[in-house]
Symmetry: C2
Subunit: 279 residues, 2 copies
């Protein structure tokens, strides 16, 4: 219908409206299309925070750093983001963000804490010391059949070259490395929120390392956006190669480091996360 | 004198007093002993934030994650830290922190933004996939003579096995990797603030990569503390091995990833930072 615009599910999930009486407030609603097991996919939450920064009328420059801490489970329903630029220079801007939801007594409770930095990018000396791994082209890698596991997985075209989700949970030990091609399904031109979302696409490394499906969930994630807006535009609707591996598992937590390139081999983002696990 | 206790310079730098009328406030003062070129060593600022969390009467558990954003230069003088636990579960606690200093009009200005997470550590399955690199023992590596460059360097015993600060700035290209043994000078038993400080000990990777000393400074750093308090106690006053390397340099910023082990080979911390550079 002419009066009912068709949104990409990613854009629908990122719909934010200005909060009344708070110049730094944005009201949103969780999206069933990006649901994980008991809450939203962590990547969509990160993307929504980036979106709040992108929509803020005082924003200076492009996203450079985002750290998100998953302090509590996000419940299905409405949420409020507070995204405030707390210090700016001529070329950089630092942000403090939080996502809250009301509890049973209508008191706002913190669900996510976050900080971000935006900056004007300049042309400087450049060098990539993390080249695109030698993997077959995305068209040569079969699409993984994960669509029935969790709703958000149906929002992506994921093609694991190595380290795919185990099909048999036999407790065997393997290197934690995974490499996969990915893009939105249906396709959508890449932007900063989408890059943030795809930086979290990797399933918990401990599932791969131990071939054991223990309860696990991200508690903190940091993303460094190396790509300029022009490089995102150049990437368009192409596939991204994501790679993730762990460094240490101990005391109920492990870290995972990740890199994301486009098909042309440009390193678009590096990210790191700390993940809770049980047993 | 009996009434004048002798503090280690690190402990003196971390002296914080509760702020009047703010249960989450801590008042401190910059330390000349940890001065960098135009402000405090970034590691001492990170350590001071950890110290605020450690001193907070509502703290639950041990430090697990710290993200610090260097929003503006810290001026010599007094500062105030606000360190607030904003969400707690039975075993984890999320913190939002800021460090402020008054401007010329006595208005508080944000200098650092930060988030942190503390947690009760449990015994679980464990595995390190980042083993201690094969390097000679610290006693077999000569101590680097960097003491005259910046004051904070005199607070550490640094022994570069590879990737030391160039002695001739000839513009040649090299891998960005550095590996060094380090400990406090004079020695001091390791704790979380000290581990945070030493996670930032690496000089800007671009100086090594290009053998060119361009202006550079950390804008954001995240530390994952893998060590339990007991593992820090076991490490004691031993040397730590630090390793750092870059992944990408572009548009005036580069990232560097780092690992820190004790002499026994336990991975104590992994960290990442984004660094501004000029040209």
């Amino acid at each position: 219908m002419a009066d009912s615009p068709v949104f990409h599910p990613f854009d629908a999930a990122l719909q934010l409206l200005p909060t009344a009486n708070d110049p730094h407030g944005f009201d949103g609603h969780t999206s069933a299309a990006y649901w994980n097991m008991v809450g939203p996919y962590g990547g969509i939450s990160a993307a929504t925070l980036v979106q709040a920064v992108m929509q803020h009328p005082q924003r200076l420059g492009e996203p450079l750093v985002l750290t998100v801490n998953y302090a509590a489970g996000t419940a299905a329903g409405a949420y409020r983001i507070h995204a405030e630029p707390v210090r700016s220079t001529r070329s950089t801007q630092h942000w403090v963000l939080r996502l809250t939801q009301p509890d049973a007594d209508a008191q706002d409770q913190v669900v996510l804490t976050a900080t971000a930095m935006t900056a004007l990018r300049r042309d400087t000396w450049q060098q990539s010391d993390a080249p695109l791994p030698q993997v077959p082209a995305p068209q040569a890698v079969p699409r993984s059949n994960l669509q029935n596991a969790m709703e958000w997985l149906s929002r992506y075209d994921l093609r694991y070259h190595s380290g795919s989700v185990p099909s048999v949970w036999d407790g065997s030990l393997h290197p934690s490395l995974s490499q996969l091609w990915m893009r939105d399904e249906p396709v959508r031109p890449l932007d900063y929120p989408a890059l943030a979302a795809m930086s979290d696409v990797f399933y918990p490394r401990i599932w791969r390392r131990r071939t054991t499906r223990v309860p696990a969930g991200t508690v903190s994630m940091t993303i460094y956006f190396h790509a300029s807006a022009r490089q995102l535009t150049e990437t368009g609707t192409g596939y991204l190669l994501g790679q993730a591996q762990a460094q240490a598992f101990r005391h109920g937590f492990f870290d995972q480091t990740a890199q994301v390139w486009n098909e042309a081999g440009t390193l678009l983002a590096t990210s790191h996360q700390l993940v809770y696990f049980k047993e």
